[in-house]
């Protein structure tokens, strides 16, 4: 795989981060359930970094910690060399955009309005004119470009509630691009999409990564998708990285079984040659371990 990493610079340096959802109650006597424990990892600038792992392994929590939606109880977190904890929320929003799993919008905002919300962190309302803060030419231009990029320009006037799940997801990604971030965080970007849209979104992400040097961090349940589109993966188990490495190093029967607790079949993708995961069928007899480690068990 081609190396696009710029001088090995780091987008994120995460050191010993712990996070618990009960943490803010400061109840020392209770045993806290830690979503993330003593987690360390580096995310390089310009890479596509995948976070995989079983349910409850802390994938989404980590993504929210990276987006500063959640505050870790302990540990250090640097974003492009700056301490994330000391940054203002809008400063973070100018560098990092988060695409949540699904956006439920109750009010009939148009797609264009939703995409333009990505400009919010870039001009804070000034005291004088209250909250009006009209969009500048620059804002409109960026929003248009992002919408064209994601092929939703023709939907600009449609209400976000009236379009399909795939179109809505593309609108949210367009909003994230309109933020002009250096890092794009995505939580299960393909979870509710059909096959065609899954491929479309993944190709778009890959293209943005290659053309704009955008660092992409994505959480996914779909091991095949992660294997095909990510430069490096982090496999989480119970809030800790079980292993970090290339898809070739991670997507292995022994590794996956150790984390997920079930046997899977792994072979090679016919086109890309990257590892491919298959669930054992009803009648599948699991073959004995092969010397190359590509067999099962």
């Amino acid at each position: 795989m081609e190396r696009r990493f710029q001088n090995g610079a780091h987008a994120y340096v995460v050191r010993g981060v712990s996070f618990s959802y009960g943490g803010h109650r400061a109840d020392a006597t209770r045993d806290l359930v830690w979503a993330l424990r003593d987690l360390s990892c580096d995310i390089r600038e310009g890479e596509v970094f995948g976070i995989i792992g079983p349910n409850g392994s802390g994938k989404s929590s980590l993504l929210k910690v990276l987006g500063r939606i959640l505050q870790p109880a302990a540990g250090g977190l640097e974003l492009f060399g700056q301490d994330l904890r000391g940054m203002r929320q809008d400063a973070v929003a100018r560098a990092v955009a988060l695409v949540p799993q699904d956006t439920l919008q109750v009010f009939p905002f148009t797609i264009a309005e939703v995409v333009l919300m990505g400009r919010f962190p870039h001009h804070q309302a000034r005291w004088s004119l209250g909250a009006l803060g009209w969009e500048t030419e620059e804002d409109l231009r960026l929003a248009k470009a992002a919408m064209a990029d994601l092929d939703i320009a023709h939907l600009a006037h449609r209400s976000i509630g009236d379009v399909s799940g795939g179109e809505r997801q593309r609108a949210i990604i367009a909003r994230a691009l309109t933020q002009q971030p250096r890092v794009l965080l995505l939580d299960e970007p393909t979870a509710f999409l059909d096959l065609n849209h899954q491929i479309e979104i993944c190709r778009t992400l890959r293209r943005l990564n290659e053309t704009r040097g955008l660092t992409v961090v994505l959480v996914s349940h779909d091991l095949n998708l992660a294997s095909q589109y990510c430069d490096r993966l982090m496999l989480l188990k119970e809030g800790r990285p079980f292993r970090i490495g290339t898809p070739d190093e991670l997507i292995r029967p022994d590794t996956l079984e150790a984390v997920y607790g079930c046997a899977v079949l792994i072979d090679r993708h016919p086109a890309s040659g990257l590892p491919r995961v298959t669930l054992p069928g009803r009648e599948t007899r699991l073959p004995s371990p092969s010397p190359e480690g590509r067999g099962v068990r």
Binding site: K64, I69, R88, Q89, D90, A93, A97, L98, P100, T103, L104, Q105, V106, F107, P108, F109, T110, A112, E113, M117, G118, F120, P121, A125, G130, A131, L132, G133, E135, L140, K144, A145, A148, D149, L150, D151, A153, H157, I199, E200, R203, R206, Q228, Y229, L265, D267, R268, H269, P270, A271, S272, G273, R276, T278, G281, T284, P287, R294, G295, V296
Partner: protein
């Protein structure tokens, strides 16, 4: 599938599949793209919409001045108003002038202020709770404020500081109590499902009504009758100092609320998405909740419980002009004022010379609309 048979295929081609997928959007990525109409709010649309609504407000107020137990003609109204402005005593206009200036005009102004505020509060609450059914009356904020005012009246706590009555402050504290309860419930749910929201409102209303009834029952009969009248929602002729005080409270609250218009837009996406866009979600929420309590308290302390304006008006306005709060907030305020002026005119005219408490009219108009929205669960109204 026999995976171990497949083996390696060292293909350096496209990452996915064998069918080439056309490059997304390459044909459209020029700058010659034109926004479709109404895709975004423009300053021109903002100004023109508000001008039209302001014109409608003036028209409604003029009609409200004209009709009533005593009907006037427009030339008469113009003459009396201009006469009072230039302080020329016109002896022929004695009684008519008194009715218009001392009774009808303050009442129309009060109705307008109350309607505007309830509508603006409704917009704010609906955005925060991400629920188009939110309304200060339905959520029990109005009854909390009424309880605060009733307690202050019972204990004689209300005083005046620098000629400004503190009664709205006590009402505001009652409103804050309700909002605190709603806020805690919201926190534990994330996004409030509609049935929880409505149940919370029903229960708060039941508790506060019981306390208000208790207070009424231990009052002297003459005072308790006045209290009942006030609770039903009444706009009976206030004097100008009361109006001025109310206007001060309302201007402060409306200003704070309006400043949150852009953050409110983003906040309708939900707390976490809003925070990832750089919105200080907690601060915006606290500001809007505080403004809601302030405005509701001020309104309730003067005019009692007038229901459903805060739900009906923002809903209808949003359907026509869209959900952008920069326009929705001021437009709803203008329409809310117009709506209540119209409702109050009906209340004065229908059984003239007697009159119906205006709260009854708004409840009769808003209640069925509320049920209609609840039954028609389209467009994410209820979930």
């Amino acid at each position: 599938m026999r995976p171990h048979v497949v083996g390696h295929t060292h293909n350096t081609g496209p990452l996915v599949g064998t069918t080439p997928i056309p490059e997304q959007g390459s044909a459209l990525s020029g700058s010659g793209l034109v926004w479709p109409m109404r895709a975004v709010l423009t300053p021109a649309r903002w100004v023109s919409t508000l001008l039209i609504l302001a014109g409608a407000s003036v028209l409604a107020c003029a009609l409200a001045l004209r009709f009533g137990a005593e009907a006037f003609t427009f030339p008469e109204i113009a003459r009396i108003l201009s006469g009072s402005l230039s302080h020329t005593d016109d002896p022929t206009a004695g009684a008519a002038s008194a009715i218009l200036l001392q009774v009808r005009l303050p009442r129309v102004i009060l109705a307008y202020l109350v309607g505007s505020c309830l509508a603006a509060v409704g917009v704010g609450l609906q955005a925060l709770l991400r629920n188009p059914l939110a309304d200060p009356y339905v959520l029990g904020i109005s009854s909390g404020a009424a309880l605060g005012a009733a307690v202050a009246a019972l204990l004689g706590l209300s005083t005046t500081i620098l000629a400004i009555s503190t009664l709205p402050l006590f009402a505001m504290m009652g409103g804050l109590l309700s909002i605190f309860v709603i806020y805690r419930i919201t926190m534990s749910y994330g996004r409030l499902p509609v049935h929880v929201l409505l149940l919370a409102g029903v229960i708060l209303n039941a508790i506060f009504s019981a306390l208000i009834m208790f207070i009424t029952s231990i009052m002297e009969p003459t005072r308790s009758f006045g209290m009942m009248q006030w609770l039903m929602g009444s706009l009976t002729a206030p004097d100008y100092p009361v109006l001025a005080v109310l206007a001060i409270y309302l201007a402060a609250g409306a200003f704070l609320l309006f400043r949150q218009a852009r953050p409110l837009n983003v906040l309708t996406l939900g707390d976490e998405p809003a925070r990832s866009l750089g919105v200080d979600a907690e601060r915006v929420k606290k500001t809007v909740f505080f403004c809601s309590a302030l405005l509701t308290g001020a309104v309730v302390s003067v005019s009692g419980m007038i229901g459903f304006v805060g739900m009906v008006v923002p809903h209808a306005v949003r359907m026509v002009i869209g959900p952008d709060h920069r326009l929705l907030l001021p437009a709803s305020a203008l329409v809310g004022g117009t709506y209540l002026v119209a409702a109050d005119t009906l209340a004065r005219v229908l059984l003239a010379p007697g009159e119906i408490p205006v709260g009854i009219i708004t409840a009769l108009a808003g209640g069925p609309f509320f049920i209609y929205l609840l039954v028609n669960r389209k467009s994410g109204v209820a979930q």
